[in-house]
Amino acid sequence: MTAYLKIDHVDKIFNRGSATTEVLKDITLTVNKGEYVSIIGHSGCGKSTLLNIVAGLTPATQGGILLEDREVNEPGPDRAVVFQNHSLLPWLTVYDNVRLAVDKVFSGLKSREERHAWTMHNLDLVQMGHARDKRPSEISGGMKQRVGIARALAMEPKVLLLDEPFGALDALTRAHLQDSVMALQQKLGNTVLMITHDVDEAVLLSDRIVMMTNGPSARIGEVLDVTLPRPRKRLEMAANPVYLKCRQRVLEFLYERHRFVEAA
């Protein structure tokens, strides 16, 4: 099976004045269609930089990104991003935020009515249809993130990129939203690349967990297949031996072999 998304020997070096920092070193990763892959690592290891490179928001210094065997090096709706801080436009309503994306992506492909229906369909997918006329400042953090997900899904991306999508949420909202994302991915079969620093989140949601070593010059340290059957139930997982083993494995990687060293 050929890879759907391929991150091919990516290096990233940041130059600031005369100082150069090598953030990522020789990252190679393939993601198959419909697969849910998480990238986990300590903060500062460059995992967000990697996601930005895949999204095309940051250029890679070496190597490149292949999507369906074609190189992509600039941002586009085929790699929709759900940003950590939702990044909704505060002057637009919930509906208009999604509609902006729908209008842009489907301008020549769908009629006005179809675009409206598609916008509402995506809002309903994340159960936000009721808040269509609210502004982002009027809804909770979890709801904003739902709208962010709806906006990304509405672009019908080939790969959905999630940049710590649940990071800014409280634990209960986070669990609820994780379940929603899991159900959505089950239903729509999206290919997902998610950045996270939460071990449970990674194990629960992913088909594969990519563990990154600490920067500078972060590389992929280990890749773990999570063979748990889907659909996965949060409560049942708590006692599932495979789940616990995976969790143990990631924890060992993060806290024993690649302990976070506070930068001087």
Binding site: A55, G56, L57, E74, P75, G76, P77, R79, A80, V81, F83, N85, S87, L88, L89, P90, W91, L92, L100, A101, K104, V105, R135, P136, S137, K144, M155
Partner: protein, 299 residues
């Protein structure tokens, strides 16, 4: 010891009876007048009374100070009697040069509208360019910072020399006075567009025009309106000064004319007009700003 404790648990957890008596006392409904009108009147009074009281106090002090014989400035009662026609009817027309202050203010406002309108359009455009480009910023910002400190009146001879006519010169002075804060604030607003919004625009592949209308302008709107509000204040300051020198019809020229014919009372009335119109202009821009920028505040 543990066993009996465990056994009692189900009893404790037994569901409480679902139906409990609900006590409710319906509040006595006050009448429409008491509930709606009275609080509103109270609020209006709380806002209006203090300035009115202060105004009365100031007028009283002024009256006392200017009542004694040999006072150089007219007292409020003297102004009232001398400039009665100007105060009560702003829109009379008694001859080509003898018209109400309302007309003069309107003429001045017309000049301000043209000059300030130009300043708004050009200021926002230039500000956008400067905010976008680091090199335009580096090249132009120092020049603008120097130019903006030049007094409106200092521009007047230059513009008279260039335009050879008082009307465009006055408009140019308005323009050149109010354009700087608009440029500078717009540039700051554009530079402060959060990277998140730029990322969203990049992922959506918005083109330049879409980016300008859908991201830049709304995101920078609070800054732009700050500039516009400073600009309207400055242009109203500048028009009076410019008209004093260029002549013609207008509130500024009226003051100069009144001074030359020693009608001090008329000057005071004109000052009140200028103040009130300036206040209204400021409020109009502020009002438009609150409508346009609603929702753009940080989340």
């Amino acid at each position: 010891m543990n066993m009996p404790l465990l056994k009692t648990e189900p009893q404790i957890a037994a569901p409480a009876p679902a139906i409990a008596e609900v006590l409710r006392f319906d509040p006595v409904k006050p009448g429409y007048f008491k509930a709606k009108i009275l609080p509103r009147l109270g609020a209006v009074a709380a806002n209006l009374l203090p300035p009115l009281v202060m105004l009365a106090l100031i007028l009283a002090v002024w009256q006392i100070l200017c009542m004694k014989p040999g006072a150089t400035l007219p007292s409020p009662t003297k102004i009232w009697s001398e400039a009665y026609d100007l105060i009560v009817d702003p829109f009379f027309v008694a001859g080509p040069q003898d018209i109400g202050l309302g007309w003069r203010v309107l003429t001045s406002l017309q000049r301000v509208a043209i000059g300030y309108g130009l300043a708004g359009v050009i200021g926002i455009m230039l500000g956008t360019i400067i905010g976008q480009s680091v090199w335009a910023m580096r090249g132009l910002d120092p020049i603008f910072q120097v130019l903006r400190t030049i007094s409106p009146l200092a521009w007047l001879p230059i513009s008279l020399a260039a335009f050879r006519d008082s009307q465009p010169s006055a408009i140019f002075v308005i323009f050149i006075t109010s354009v700087w804060p608009i440029i500078i604030n717009t540039a700051v607003g554009i530079r402060n567009i959060p990277q998140d919004y730029r990322n969203v625009a990049a992922v959506l592949r918005l083109n330049h025009l879409e980016f300008f209308w859908k991201i830049m302008i709304p995101s920078a709107a609070p800054y732009i309106f700050t500039g516009l509000r400073i600009g309207i204040g400055l242009s109203w300051l500048a028009i009076v000064a410019a008209e004093m020198l260029t002549g013609g019809v207008g509130i500024g020229f009226f003051i100069w004319d009144a001074w030359n014919s020693s009608r001090l009372s008329d000057i005071v009335v004109a000052l009140v007009y200028i103040g009130i119109v300036g206040f209204i202009l400021d409020r109009i821009v502020a009002f438009v700003a609150t409508i346009v920028t609603r929702g753009t505040a940080a989340n």
